[in-house]
């Protein structure tokens, strides 16, 4: 019958083993050829499926992408790019039950190439999805210091920024601050990178750090509108209204349409004009400002009482409104106002302004954050409070 092997004649062990070796080599070569052709065919099919998966993933059709990546993996099971893409699609599909599978693919890839930055980044994102902060930070760091196939510096920078954003989202301020410091020291001479870093500092409420980044941008591009506006805003948040005024004016000179900067500038200028404690102003000017602020406080108090439905004429109540108490304080201090110019008492301005600040703070709590001069007075009060602390 045709399928019977021919009888092997040699009875000698070495000859038989030689024949078997030759047979094994021939078989190995033949199967290699077959496997190579089959794999080439499969890889071609896999590439097409992978491309369709990428298209689906980029348009948010994750189920279709997952199917395509799975099919691609049936064609080329060891392809780490397909595995990575499948893991990403599983992770991004929004189905928490798929995180396990995504993680197992990624862990398998990580075990093979622990230094691969893309795999570490994907694992970091899975850990972030799960809320495992320590794991996420570990993988983000691995990704930052891992091996990137291209554009390593930009990718590392981007991973660090992603890590900072993640830490800020998770309220891990201390870790975010240390990452920000590390980021700031390694930034390239690129205005966009400094602007991004500055916005992260702002997000972390580190306005000094943000201002430094904006000033770095301005050293590179002195007329950068975003940097001027950002620097102005940062200085404003820091309470440095003089610097804020300077940057915001320049920002408006470059971009007249910048409404936010205009609003901040107006407030900053009101602060500078209303603050009786500014250096280098005369006594007369100081007294004028105190009188104006005092009068403004009464107006604010009256308006807030009307808004809150509190009658400032009511007396004898067992539990008087805080606004009534404030009015009483205001009335008590009012006679002192006349003595401002003649008095030698150095605490009098503080006493009067203290009533003003109390009125502004209380009304801000009860009637909402004010605008205009009242806002300026509130900011001065906050600045004074911060300075005393």
């Amino acid at each position: 019958m045709w399928w019977r092997l021919p009888k092997l004649v040699p009875r000698s062990g070495p000859v038989i083993l030689l024949i078997l070796t030759l047979g094994a080599v021939a078989g190995f070569a033949a199967v290699s050829h077959l496997v190579v052709r089959y794999n080439a065919n499969q890889q071609s099919r896999g590439r097409k499926l992978y491309a369709s998966g990428l298209t689906a993933a980029s348009s948010g059709r994750y189920d279709a992408a997952i199917d395509a990546f799975r099919a691609a993996l049936t064609c080329d099971p060891a392809n780490s790019q397909y595995q990575l893409s499948l893991a990403r699609a599983l992770r991004d599909s929004g189905d928490p039950s798929r995180l396990d599978e995504a993680e197992s693919y990624l862990v398998a890839l990580w075990q093979r190439t622990p230094q691969d930055a893309a795999v570490n980044l994907a694992l970091a994102r899975v850990a972030a999805h799960r809320g495992s902060i320590d794991d996420a930070i570990g993988y983000y760091h691995n990704a930052m210091y891992g091996v990137w196939k291209s554009d390593a510096d930009a990718n590392r920078n981007s991973v660090q920024i992603e890590l900072i954003q993640y830490l800020l989202k998770k309220n891990a301020r201390a870790q975010a601050d240390s990452e920000l410091i590390a980021l700031a020291t390694a930034l390239p001479r690129d205005p966009a990178a400094h602007l991004q870093a500055a916005s992260l500092f702002v997000e972390a409420e580190d306005y000094a750090g943000a201002l430094a980044q904006y000033e770095d941008v301005l050293r590179l591009q002195s007329n950068n509108a975003a940097a001027l506006a950002g620097a102005g805003a940062a200085a404003y948040r820091m309470g440095n209204y003089t610097l804020a005024q300077r940057y915001l004016r320049n920002a408006l000179a470059v971009n007249l349409e910048d409404r936010d900067s205009r609003q901040l500038l107006e407030t900053a200028e009101l602060v500078l004009r209303s603050n009786p404690f500014r250096s280098y102003i005369s006594d007369a000017e100081r007294n004028r400002r105190i009188a104006a602020d005092f009068a403004r406080a009464e107006t604010r108090l009256t308006a807030c009482a009307a808004q809150a439905g509190v009658s400032l004429d009511a007396t004898g109540s067992s539990s008087p409104s805080p606004l009534l108490r404030l009015q009483a304080q205001w009335n008590a201090v009012k006679p002192d106002l006349r003595q401002l110019q003649s008095s030698t008492e150095t605490d009098l301005p503080d006493t009067i302004m203290d009533v003003v600040f109390q009125i502004e703070r209380r009304t801000a709590t009860m009637c909402g954050r004010p605008q205009g001069v009242d806002l300026a007075l509130l900011l001065i009060s906050e600045q004074r409070e911060a300075a005393t602390q």
Partner: protein, 591 residues
Amino acid sequence: MSSNPTVPASPESPTQTPIVRVHIRQRLFSTLEGVFNEEVFFLILSVFIGIFSGLAVVCFRLAIDWTHLALLGPLPQTHSWRLFAVPAIAGLVVAALVLHVFPGIRGSGVNQTKSALYIFNGFIPFRTAVGKFFCSAIAIGSGQSLGPEDPSLQIGASIASALGRHLQISREKVRLMAPVGAAAGLAAAFNAPISAVLFVIEEVIGRWSAGILGSVVLSAVASVVIVRSFLGSEPLFHIPVTAFKRPSELLAYAALGLIGGFASVAFAKSVGALRPRLKALPRWTQYLQPAVAGLLVGLIAFLGAPQVMGAGYDSMDQAMHGQYAWKFLAMLAVLKIVATTVSFVSGTPGGMFAPTLFIGAMLGGAVGGVEHIFFPQLTGSTGTYALVGMGVLFAGFLRVPMTSVFMVLEVSGNYEIIVPVIVANTVSYLVARSFQEIPIFDLLTRQDGLVLPSLEEEREENILHVEDAMLPVSKTILNAQDYVDTSARRVQDSSESVFLVRLHPSGWNLITREQLQRLDREGKGELTLASVLPSPPLPSLYPDLPLDSALRYVNAYALVPVVNRADFHRLEGVISRDSVLHKYGSPSEGS
């Protein structure tokens, strides 16, 4: 093996005469011949069996993949007409091939390999390998609910058998070739050499045999190396991170073992009951049976469960990653039992390993899912239960408890899960044994009219030991330094007729009262017993030896001493022919 290489002298050599060169070649050849005694040759041959089996399994897997892609596409979608048309048409083709061209390839192939070992002197026609290769590839590739492992096992065994027959080695070695090839084929298919070796020992060879273990291991390792060099070393499954944290969870895994045991019984009983009924139908129906099976499997797929088609490794992978809800997992387990039963009993060539793993994974996932509803504090994920479930069905359905444990470890690479696996597999095995007396492969063999030994039956056997037939030590024990006349006087009043003699420095011998009295009468009373005793001394036995081992001595010697293993001077008892036969329940000739 001998050779006579007569090489003509080469005139080109300036330094050696033709006679010297021929002499050197002959010496070299005879040295090589000396190295290749049959034992060494058999071991080397095992490596080649592994290589050839590995190459064949690589081609087999490519053939299945190619058939699947060509007939069903990379990812079969539900509600496609191809889902039921393809397996049905392929079933017709396979049936025609099985009935007319390859008649010996029905079923899984494990039984045929075992039959070759025990009945046919290791003979498996090479035609079986060819038929199994093509028909299984068509059947599995077209979606029949069968797996590629058992056919790979038989392909390996066929290759080994063909090599053994044509290399003219001894009959004993030829007989052992089939299991060596079987281990290679299975190891290549599973990418798991330890499980393959254990399975072949547990199920095919049926006993632990040191003589063949080395060859089986060598061939399994060689075939796995070949497969990995071509297909990569990716594990069969991407196992999720699993951990066993709380010992109390063993109860949950034991429950899985219990349910898996009953599922194994249901699966085995349905196969065992349907197979003979379908075989008894008229011959013309056998042309249609695989097609009808394909149609049924296709219909299940068409209606929403394409996961049941083929081996189903991708679906197992997804089940282990918690991709399916427990209700769907339970449904897949039931549907797979139905699909595999109809595919297998229809006579379609293909294996039951992969379907068993599939059913186990789905059942495990489902049980884990339900347990999590009632006991949310359980830390094992659904994937962990699916992984353990694979072993549970393997232990319960195939009745190979050791293989099942190692198989789970090998495919998962996670040793933390070993305790739950052992517990669940043991429970499943015990349940299956209680409700299904005969293991599935033995049942199939008996349905085919063959009775083959099984390790499980051997384990159950109550083996008699020497200690069971041992008689107490006689009060009269003589010493080799004693004189004949003294000894004759000592035994004069004894009721016994045969006496043990302690030799110096060690060993035992026998002497009868008649011999002593005769020697004394002959005037040899001044001689020591040592000088008159026959040589060699008596053989000794140990109490724990099988009683069978005593049989070869009790006919030759009236008494055989049983000594302590730690102190061979210490006599534990004696064995006689009567005591042995009495223990075996047969009356002795003299009684």
